[in-house]
């Protein structure tokens, strides 16, 4: 080790000995931020890896897949593919029908436990061997019928379950299970198993049996293609594409994986940004720890300068302290983050409240480069936080610094408004930039600028506001010496005050921003639910993707039931407009062209469609993602004719877009008269429960349908909403706790730095309790100011979240609502906590008595 490094080590070690508690607090704050970021990343990474593995199992070795743009496609497409296979370079093709069913296992543990959804793949075993060999069913010897294993494979009631599905439904080969597809109920025999990735619930049937028993006759979901040696996927797709009907698309399976990743991307980015909030707050603790350490060491550093240490050494001596704190915090944070991720995966599975990865519990995937990245991020935060104190240490003139210098001299230079105004200007510019790769990167950067601007303004604001307060008190001829001391102290040491409350301002600003955003969003969703759920009772045929299960005859009978005053039916179809993007929901329903706003929460006026044009209403997401602007002519894969975008509506249920058209138009264009959803207005005096009993009695087929009253649906929707923000609340709470740690540790450090001041006051007749009271008043005043300024900053950030981040991330807009009562109560609580934290922190440090603090003078 070189002498320079040895000297550096001496200084860092000495600083550590001088303020162990403060360093540990700062390191813990960094650790909290890094731990949250690591945990969120690892959980998402594990969930995506699990999904990727599941997709790989299902896709097998297919190089290309032909999939339906809307629901399913006729199996004649398979004939077309076979016809051109040799010319196109296709080695083998395997048709697949994929049907989501609801499972009712024989040994259900609780009578009213929720039904489980299961994907059943209908496969041609002879053709699947070439593309998806892993999905070939393994017949159980005991379960095989008299015809042997071969007969069991093709039996019309044979289903093969993955080990995870067998465990989940508590069935073994030989048992039977009931599944519901649409309104069809089928009793199937578990004839064996199929291999799948651990935890993946999957079932396989013979394709003919699946089509027949599960209501998908003549329909396919996809065709897996294995290409001849040397054939390129792009060339095959280019050759085959024009030969296929417009209702299908041909793409590589990787694009479907990308689709899943895109599905949750905005939510994941949102959570990671929130995790960075805690890290951001931790940075202030590192800053104040290193800044105060540097101030305490000013005479020693100046002495080193006098003895010949160059500026670089002085700078490194300060930076090394921030580096040490951040390194310890980062390593502890990564370890804690992995432990937290393991716990989250065990408790919540791969889902962090967003509802994107519900289902099996993924195994934890440790991404070493990412962990290294998080460690480096923490270190970078520590170095950035130490940069200013290091610069100040270098700039200090040795002769002055040798005399000690107060921390206010070093920090007082921060009391300028120029940087704050500059950062605010940058934020305004950023808000005028478009999203980057579909993410609101400039808006997030603008939030960071607003936050930094707000914090940069704190010293200047403190220097303006508290002298005013002090002068106001002076005019009242104040006779409260402790209040007088506290006001003077805060007013005349704005730099130190800023160091104390920067974390409070940052964390409370972000908390208020989230509170405003969530409150606005929740009220908007509640209003939206009122518009989109006008009926009394809603019913949906169970899963079964192929056809709408409610036939026209059944619709007519339902409408004529005595308890029903009015019935509206709708058909929902998933459309694939781009292979790499999540599907878009097409909703064919009752829409009055003269008053579409009666059923759709339009954001603007409805545009009349030109004569002959088919009106189409689109969600806000469609405008952003696909350019379906009002008045434009657009195309959908259900028809060759163009559609006229007649209006834009809010759809808080589908961030990836939905379109709505009149059911009559849909029926005319597709010939599909079936539906899967129903909305029923009940006769006066008929309760939803009574109506439901009457319905199922009259139509036993509806027993498997899922019915809910409008009230239950609203409550359920808001419950899901609250759950999806649970992680957000957790992160905000963590940031606030870190901020209060900051206040406490700042005052604990101040108690050391102000030992002489307190000693003098004790000599002059101020009691220990009065000193604690003075510091509590200072802490309370500063926390109140921090909370107020944080609330104002949070209001601005809330507006950015509502009007920039949300529309750009999730493609929906809302009106701003200010929950002032909640914000005021939180601010008051924070002010009280700040006062208590300051008092507690300083109480122990003032117990030494006045003699020790001034001992060198007596």
């Amino acid at each position: 080790m070189t002498p320079r490094l040895i000297l550096l080590r001496w200084f860092v070690t000495a600083a550590w000995r001088a303020q162990r508690g403060r360093w540990l607090t700062a390191a813990a704050a960094v650790a909290v931020g890094i731990a949250l970021a690591t945990a969120i990343f690892t959980v998402n990474r594990s969930a995506l890896a699990e999904f990727q593995q599941a997709i790989d199992t299902v896709n097998g070795e297919a190089a290309l897949q032909i999939t339906a743009r809307a629901g399913s496609f006729p199996e004649e497409v398979f004939d077309t593919v076979l016809l051109h296979a040799d010319r196109a370079g296709i080695d083998s093709a395997s048709p697949v029908v994929s049907i989501d069913v609801v499972v009712r296992p024989p040994r259900q543990t609780a009578p009213h436990s929720p039904a489980e959804r299961l994907t059943v793949l209908g496969m041609d075993v002879f053709r699947a061997g070439a593309t998806t060999p892993a999905l070939i069913a393994q017949v159980d010897a005991g379960a095989a019928e008299t015809g042997g294993a071969g007969a069991a494979l093709f039996a019309d009631d044979a289903i093969f379950l993955s080990p995870a599905a067998q465990t989940a439904y508590a069935v073994r080969p030989g048992d039977s299970i009931s599944v519901t597809s649409g309104l069809l109920e089928a009793r199937l025999r578990v004839a064996g198993s199929v291999s799948a990735s651990p935890g993946q619930r999957l079932a396989v049937m013979d394709i003919g049996a699946a089509q027949w028993r599960l209501g998908a006759l003549g329909r396919l979901s996809r065709i897996d293609l294995r290409l001849s040696e040397g054939a390129s996927p792009d060339a095959v797709a280019a050759l085959l594409g024009p030969l296929l009907p417009a209702s299908v698309e041909i793409a590589a399976p990787e694009q479907r994986t990308q689709r899943m990743s895109n599905l949750s991307r905005a939510y994941r980015v949102n959570l990671n940004v929130l995790a960075l909030v805690a890290l951001f707050t931790g940075a202030f603790l590192v800053f104040s720890a290193v800044a105060l350490s540097a101030v305490r060491q000013r005479p020693q550093l100046a002495l080193m300068s006098v003895l010949g240490a160059d500026d670089a050494w002085v700078r490194h001596a300060v930076l090394a302290q921030g580096l040490a704190v951040a390194l310890a915090g980062s390593l502890a944070g990564v370890a804690a983050g992995l432990a937290l991720a393991r716990a989250l995966l065990a408790v919540f599975g791969g889902d962090l409240g967003g509802g994107y990865f519900s289902g099996a519990q993924p195994r934890m995937v440790i991404d070493l480069p990412a962990l290294l990245g998080f460690t480096l991020l923490g270190i970078a935060v520590g170095c950035a936080a130490s940069w200013l104190p290091a610069r100040e240490a270098v700039a200090a003139r040795p002769v002055e610094a040798l005399r000690g210098g107060s921390s206010e001299t070093a920090l007082g230079r921060l009391a300028r408004y120029g940087p704050a105004v500059g950062l605010l200007a940058v934020a305004v510019v950023l808000l005028n930039l478009p999203p980057v790769a579909g993410l609101p990167v400039p808006a997030y950067a603008a939030i960071a600028c607003v936050l930094l601007s707000s914090i940069a303004a704190v010293p200047w604001l403190v220097a303006q506001v508290f002298p005013l307060l002090q002068r106001a008190c002076a005019r009242r001829d104040l006779r409260q010496p402790i209040l007088w001391f506290a006001l003077l102290r805060v007013a005349q040491a704005p730099g130190q005050a800023a160091g104390v409350i920067a974390g409070v301002v940052a964390s409370f600003a972000l908390t208020v921003a989230m509170v405003i955003m969530v409150a606005s969003f929740r009220l908007a969703v509640a209003d939206w639910l009122e518009v989109v759920l006008p009926a009394d009772l809603y019913g949906r045929a169970q899963a079964g993707a192929v056809e709408g299960a409610i036939t026209p005859a059944l619709q007519a009978r339902l409408a004529a039931l005595p308890v029903v005053a009015r019935a509206e039916f709708s058909r929902t179809v998933e459309l694939s407009l781009e292979p790499a993007r999540p599907t878009v929901a097409l909703w064919a329903r009752h829409v009055d062209p003269a008053a579409p706003q009666a059923r759709l929460p339009l954001t603007g006026p409805a545009l009349p469609a030109p004569a002959g044009a088919i009106p189409l209403y689109v969600s806000e997401g469609m405008v952003d993602l696909y350019g379906f602007a009002p008045g434009k002519q657009v195309r959908l894969p259900i028809a060759a004719a163009p559609f006229h975008v007649a209006g834009v509506y809010r759809d808080y249920a589908r961030q990836h877009g939905s379109v709505t058209m009149a059911r009559a138009d849909y029926q005319r264009l597709t010939g599909d008269a079936s539906v899967n959803d129903m909305a029923l207005w009940l006769k006066p005096g008929v309760s939803p429960e009574a109506a439901l009993a009457g319905l199922t009695a009259a139509e036993p087929a509806l027993a498997t349908a899922d019915f809910k009253s409008a009230g239950d649906l609203r409550a359920l929707s808001l419950r899901i909403f609250d759950r999806s923000f649970a992680m957000t609340y957790l992160l905000e709470a963590a940031a606030l706790v870190v901020a209060l740690f900051g206040v406490a540790s700042s005052y604990a450090a101040q108690a050391l730095a102000r030992a002489r001041e307190f000693g003098v006051l004790r000599h002059l007749g101020v009691s220990n309790g009065e000193i604690v009271l003075q510091v509590a008043i200072e802490g309370g005043l500063l926390s109140t100011f921090g909370a107020l300024w944080g609330a104002i900053t949070g209001g601005v950030i809330g507006l950015i979240l509502i009007h920039w981040v949300n529309p750009q991330s999730f493609h929906w807009t809302m009106q701003t609502r200010l929950p002032l009562g909640l914000i005021a109560a939180s601010a008051a609580a924070l002010a009280v906590c700040g006062a208590i934290a300051a008092a507690l922190a300083v109480r122990s440090a003032t117990g030494d008595g006045p003699l020790r603090s001034l001992k060198e003078d007596w």
């Binding site: 107060s406 206010e408 001299t409 008190c473 002076a474 001829d477 104040l478 006779r479 010496p481 007088w484 001391f485 003077l488 102290r489 005349q492 040491a493 002489r756 001041e757 000693g759 003098v760 006051l761 004790r762 000599h763 002059l764 007749g765 101020v766 009691s767 009065e770 008595g849 006045p850 003699l851 001034l854 060198e856 003078d857 007596w858």
Partner: protein
């Protein structure tokens, strides 16, 4: 509140006692006593220099009189107050109302202006801010530093800082000022000026002064010189 009185030796001897220590003993842990059976009498308005080698107990003596330390034996009476029997809260009140302090290192509060530093004792005793300001400013003027009233300690020279410290020690007209090497950090000319101001103000106010100093010149300006040795206190 003490009034301004004359300071001739004859008049001093006739005055009432301001500080009386009787058989005071203080020792720390198992060590031999720092102070043993010490007696001391300071009269009202008397200005006394205390000298002695390092380690003989000068600081301990000041701490005991200031109520910052408690004797193991003996009594301490300052301006009619039995300091050794006071509760913690009463000792705080005693220091606030009865004492003034002057430190070698000045110990001004760095974030307060010179005027505000001088106002501190008055504010602590509940004087209204307006009156405190007037009285502190008047004393700063007497000490010749009113023009620097709005300056912070960091902006003042050593002599100016010590004059602000004197103002803080005297502004509330205490019965006793305890000064520890009040000129130790000053150049000779400034030291003479500061000491003159301290002695003059104590005389004007009738305040008793107990001043620790190593300087024979400073000690010579006091009304009386006491020397503390391991054998006890003696007139110098």
């Amino acid at each position: 509140m003490p009034e301004e009185i004359s300071a001739t030796p004859a008049s001093i001897a006739a005055r009432a006692p301001a500080v009386t220590l009787t058989q005071v003993t203080r020792h720390y842990a198992a060590e031999r006593p720092v102070i043993k059976d010490l007696d001391l009498l300071l009269r009202r308005g008397e200005r006394v220099a205390l000298q002695g080698e390092s380690g003989v107990g000068k600081s301990t003596l000041l701490n005991l009189i200031a109520g910052l330390d408690v004797p193991d034996a003996g009594t301490i009476d300052v301006a009619g107050v039995r300091v050794d029997t006071l509760s913690d809260a009463a000792r705080v009140r005693y220091r606030r109302e009865t004492l003034g302090f002057v430190f070698q290192a000045f110990h001004l509060l760095p974030h307060l202006t010179a005027l505000q530093n001088a106002m501190v004792p008055l504010m602590l005793s509940g004087t209204g801010e307006r009156l405190a300001r007037e009285r502190a400013l008047a004393l700063l003027a007497q000490l010749g530093i009113a023009q620097r009233a709005d300056a912070r300690p960091g902006e003042l020279s050593g002599g100016e800082q010590q004059r602000v410290a004197l103002a803080r020690a005297l502004v509330h007209r205490p019965a006793l000022v305890l000064a520890d090497e009040p000129t130790g950090n000053l150049d000779p000319a400034t030291a003479r000026l500061a000491l003159g101001l301290l002695l003059d103000q104590c005389a004007r106010q009738g305040t008793t002064l107990l001043m620790v100093t190593h300087s024979p010149e400073t000690a010579a300006l006091a009304d009386r010189r006491l020397v503390l040795t391991q054998r006890g206190l003696a007139e110098g």
